[in-house]
Symmetry: D2
Subunit: 347 residues, 4 copies
């Protein structure tokens, strides 16, 4: 089959190689025919070498960790899916036995593999994963339309759900950054709770999108962004800020926007959260990190997608256009999310 692989951290491109198709290695393994694989900023970071010493993959290897498609083949022990089923793939292969797994927190699994990061990923015709990672798609959903939910989507979902659980009528929530994650975050907030959503971004186009997707107030980010947000909240501050950027100064803006008892959810990264303890205490704020969502959260997000309450804005490329997609992404020319769509659907 074809696979887009990274050969060297010295290059800024992937190679479209002919490689053997993956095979079943465990009775609970499943081979998925890729219907769509999202291109994520993390892929760019992998190519740049940032993840080299964290994930330690052996080169060359295939990238792609936001995958959806159709079940092609299943191991003997697989009971919950069958060949032909349309599925989305939770990015982590988990053991199901450790305490993290038993608590339902897949990302805390002590024996996990992250295909596309530290194993063979989904920029290819086929992907090996395990039964525990698969969710059957509602018939209203097509793999290529939902693939980026597998990572970007559930990351936004998890943060927005954490926030929503404490946002009652009359509350206000700021969303900083309405990009690939943030535009999902706005929709999830809109679906899960009646808070007043205040979208903050440096781009007019992103703000326009936020408005279309359900944001109540749109704030162009500049030096006065904290004051602008305060004005929109009777001068008192907002109940929650979800920071999908967390760099370029947003980590200094988010916390001062909060009312007493408010929460600052950190989803993006790159910057530092630096606060005087006295301010943490006096305002009694919380800083809450949020990682990739778990399996149940992906299931819930797919439910919202099937109901039409959350949709992805995406742009598709063939597998042989992978480097074009990467170039477009680097040039800021992908609006919403880029999705790689290999040839071939199930017979």
């Amino acid at each position: 089959m074809k696979a887009a692989r990274l050969h060297s951290y010295e290059e800024d491109h992937l190679h479209l190689d002919d490689v053997p198709e993956p095979d079943l290695q465990d009775p609970r393994d499943v081979i998925v025919r890729i219907g769509g694989a999202g291109l994520c900023r993390t892929d760019l970071h992998i190519i740049e070498g940032i993840w080299k010493d964290i994930a330690e993959p052996e080169l060359p290897y295939t990238l792609g960790h936001e995958n959806a498609g159709w079940v092609e083949e299943v191991g003997d022990g697989v009971r919950s899916v069958a060949p032909g089923d349309a599925v989305i793939v939770h990015p982590l292969m988990t053991c199901g036995v450790c305490l993290g797994c038993r608590r339902g927190e897949d990302m805390y699994c002590e024996n996990s593999l992250f295909p596309g990061l530290n194993g063979e990923g989904g920029f290819a015709n086929f992907l090996r994963t395990s039964e525990r990672s698969l969710i059957k798609l509602d018939e209203r959903l097509d793999p290529k339309d939902v693939a980026p939910f597998a990572d970007a989507g559930i990351t936004a979902y998890r943060a927005a759900k954490k926030a929503a659980s404490r946002l009652d009528p009359g509350s206000r929530c700021v969303v900083i950054g309405v990009g690939g994650l943030g535009h999902v975050g706005v929709q999830v907030l809109r679906a899960l709770c009646p808070t007043t959503i205040i979208a903050v971004d440096t781009s007019d186009e992103s703000l326009r999108l936020a408005g279309e997707l359900g944001a109540d107030e749109l704030v162009k980010s500049d030096d006065n962004v904290v004051e602008k947000v305060k004005e929109l909240s009777d001068g008192r501050g907002v109940d929650a800020v979800i920071d999908f950027v967390a760099e370029h100064g947003t980590t200094e803006q988010g916390p001062p926007m909060l009312v007493q008892g408010g929460r600052y959810y950190v989803v993006g990264y790159g910057g530092r959260v630096d606060l005087a303890a006295i301010d943490v205490i006096f305002n009694e704020i919380e800083v809450i990190g949020s990682l990739v969502g778990n399996y149940v959260e992906l299931l819930e997000l797919m439910e919202l997608a099937a109901q039409g309450k959350v949709e992805l804005r995406a742009q598709t490329y063939g597998l042989d256009q992978i480097n074009e997609a990467i170039d477009d992404f680097m040039a800021g020319q992908i609006h919403g999310r880029g999705v790689i769509v290999p040839d071939g659907r199930p017979a």
Copy 2:
């Protein structure tokens, strides 16, 4: 009556003045005969002028915000207490009408007065407060033994209760700083949950006290304190850290002690909490500020005190020894908490 008043920020002492007794100004006001008034580090900070521009009290005025005693006189509208009742005084006089009050969060009251901070306090024979601030004492409790619970106590209680609500059997919680607040915190944790308590302090004496009060592990703080804590938690880290110090470097030690998904509770202040967003995300940690407890929390703490599950270590001084108490406190010679006990009990 006698009152220990601050005359000038240029001095480091209070003056024992003859002043008129306070009178009822509202139908729900109550005059309390002071049985004990705790001496708090905040009192030292007030004398130093740190609070001058925050609380903006008019000099001279009477300090003392950790008060307990007996009801002396009540306004027409008071129904829940009567002269002679032994009471502890929640430090804030609240309106009972604003949203903060309606939610039970007294410290969020929008129309509050803080006697001893921005109004006449309890280093005196009598104090004016309001019905809403009073809790009747169980007959097993004496005002002078419980006064410091009114501020130091509920601050420790609130943080420990927040932590305890998420500490299941098998979890571990670090308490940094076993002083006036921390020694209450250890006892509250012990009473509220079965977590393994790891006490961290620079003083052997404080650690010995922590052990007596229920801590399971005692760790002398030094440059290797993070490693020592990790060793005590299978190398994985602890579920919660309550930082009663939050200066002198503890804010750099607390967060790295945490397991994935762990919580860092900030109670002390003076330092900065400075974290890379990537670490907040990857470890999915939470930084949770915690302020003075609310009325219901004081009620719960008094219940624990009445049951003998939480006790204060204290040292008493007469009202005319107030400056001696201040000197001892500054010299680090008060073990536990200093309590000012004016002459006179109810007839």
Copy 3:
């Protein structure tokens, strides 16, 4: 002023009497000029004598416990409202001092008065209440349009909010009875969470209304109602049932509709909840009673109303038409809620 008063439990009507206007009795009292007063089934029950021995009011007295209007006069101690303010009135006058009040649960107040039930109510030109019961209306809201929210509305809101807090995407919630309370319940569920709402009623018109207000599935109640609901939930059962009827057999239908771990919220009354312990255990269900909402819940509901997310269907009558309204109500000819609107708006 005019007031519609009950003279005797032997009659089935109220008398329109000339009575003195109420006066301020406490510094925190407020006189409200009635803009609208909802007619509630409880009023019929009072007239029938059902409440005689529970509330023990002294006859004659004025009914009406769902009140909204404008502040006419305030006591010396009132700070949060001023004459002319449009307000809705929480039905309970509470002490603000007892433990129930301190926890924010107004209905648990140990020293309360319920005007219209055991004190002078709002079927009159003016009503005496206290500052703690008042919420200022958003300028988009008119007293006569919101009055029934004061009791029927918050009762529905409280139950729906309890349910919504545990209803994730993919869940299903049955609402039994889409009448005065239920039609608010459907809208609150719609506003607070993304659950699939299954409305159950015996009336086609009520079901049509439920559909308009956001219900996803409409089920005509009959002997097979449990099976119909099960079919709509993959044969597994629903996550929650809110029973706004709780008589005429619904208490036998609700619990068997539940999936393992499901919750049955009881809001209506008249029937019995009778379950074999083995079924409670095996299915691990919960039966949750729900009473009138508290002050904060009324505040949240008014927020939803101001945002246009919840609206009341109502029919208005003049104060002199009170007995006509009662007759219509008894004859089942009020669609939605009847509201009494006395003459006179503030100058």
Copy 4:
């Protein structure tokens, strides 16, 4: 090997048969050498035929669902345990893939097997189970001392933990029935929260045991039991009742003991919970069913056991004494719990 098997529902005894040792059937299967197997009232019910049509086991088969011992052999896919490990066995073999499993609620597994109920159980030398059911024992614990925790223990634990999460200082909790489950329940409450525990039982000996294990108040059950409990709670009622009996009239006593907003936890079965909806509403009570605990709850309970905070009162029998144990149990002559201990420990 030897196995105590049920041959016919016409008999009231088991047969000690020679049967083949179980073998591995799945890569994640584990063979456990039984160190102790608790005798449960459910075993008596199975023999009486009550479970015949629910669990539908094929006769003859081996009973015993409260198992602990040592790992004897593991399948290829097993990573978390190894031969020789001392383990306790969660009673359910679960799939790890369905939604119930993914949420951590093992008892909601859609593809489970319950050895000893609908499969070969642990009254034998060896038991086949799966890796997901095993928890390694702390070195301070011996299999025969903990076996009954596997079912009776976690059932009590789950109910007590649910209750404890809402029992603050000053609250009161009634435990009805201090037998096999209840004596664990009292200890778990004692370990998890500072509530005042009121033990209710018809037996003086059980009450004495409750007192030893941490109950604060002991109430002999009779016709006035509700009044006695009310007297112990200032006439207001208690915050929670955990009913480990739920027959012989306790279901009529539990709910009236509650304060407004109180919770009634049903763990035992046999009786009916029959309440007027008006009482459910007015008192705003909750009736909460509680089933066998999940894997994480068993882990937490074993932690409490290792710390010495919860201990079982038990009486041991050899495997060849199984019918003697059954006779003693039926005759009410087992104090605490009966445990079957087959010969043979690992070499």
